[in-house]
Symmetry: none
Subunit: 103 residues, 2 copies
DNA sequence: GTTGAACATGTCAAATTTGATATAAATTGA
DNA sequence: TCAATTTATATCAAATTTGACATGTTCAAC
């Protein structure tokens, strides 16, 4: 997105292209956070499928809705880690497995 | 997730809520979830302290407030895993990089 | 014991997330 | 093919979480 060429161009034009550390660090955190969520999403989907549960059935188990389960598994940005983790715990995912993925 | 909405509906309709299986199962999930949050809270506090950061300084790094950091470290129920995880990820940054960010 | 810095606790409007609902798209099995 | 089941996507009011702030408590240095 922000490649070196573009950055040089902007700097040449007199723009300050952000404090590099801030930029990189926040991006890294966001990136790691998203990766974590995607990993949990995949685990969830795999686990649900291996238990032959439909999204609807599983939604019932966690007192939620099919559409929310679909969003969880799609890695939708508007789904919290809390919901993903509680879902995995409901499917009896060993807590150690979850911890291994967390920072 | 855990039932408040449905529970209110049922109670309003005159039901005593608490199917034993549901209760036990959800409690186990809740229990594991809380344990996980407490573990992360402790981890966060330890890591922050080992970096000699005050709560206020760290709050600045994650664009939050001292009081919220205190709540995170106290394992406050009203703090999400998302916030805890992002905080821990922020502290994963090499110490030298963090020092550069301080006043 | 006074002072000041660090931390804890309570409150709140604003922002985000939630389950529910509707409906479209995809998959499955005859 | 085609109907039934399953999954994806969009929307929304209600619930929860957020950072900010105010204020109280703890603790160390003097």
């Amino acid at each position: 997105m922000m490649d070196k060429r573009k950055q040089k161009k902007l700097e040449a034009a007199g723009w300050k292209v952000g404090n590099a550390e801030d930029f990189l660090e926040l991006t890294q955190v966001e990136s790691d956070y998203i990766s974590l969520k995607i990993a949990l999403s995949r685990h969830l989907k795999t686990r649900r499928q291996s238990l032959r549960l439909t999204q609807k059935d599983f939604a019932g188990m966690i007192h939620s809705s099919q559409s929310r389960v679909a969003k969880m598994e799609a890695g939708d940005p508007g789904v919290t880690l809390d919901l993903l983790v509680k879902s995995l715990l409901t499917l009896k995912t060993p807590i150690e497995d979850i911890e291994k993925m967390l920072p």
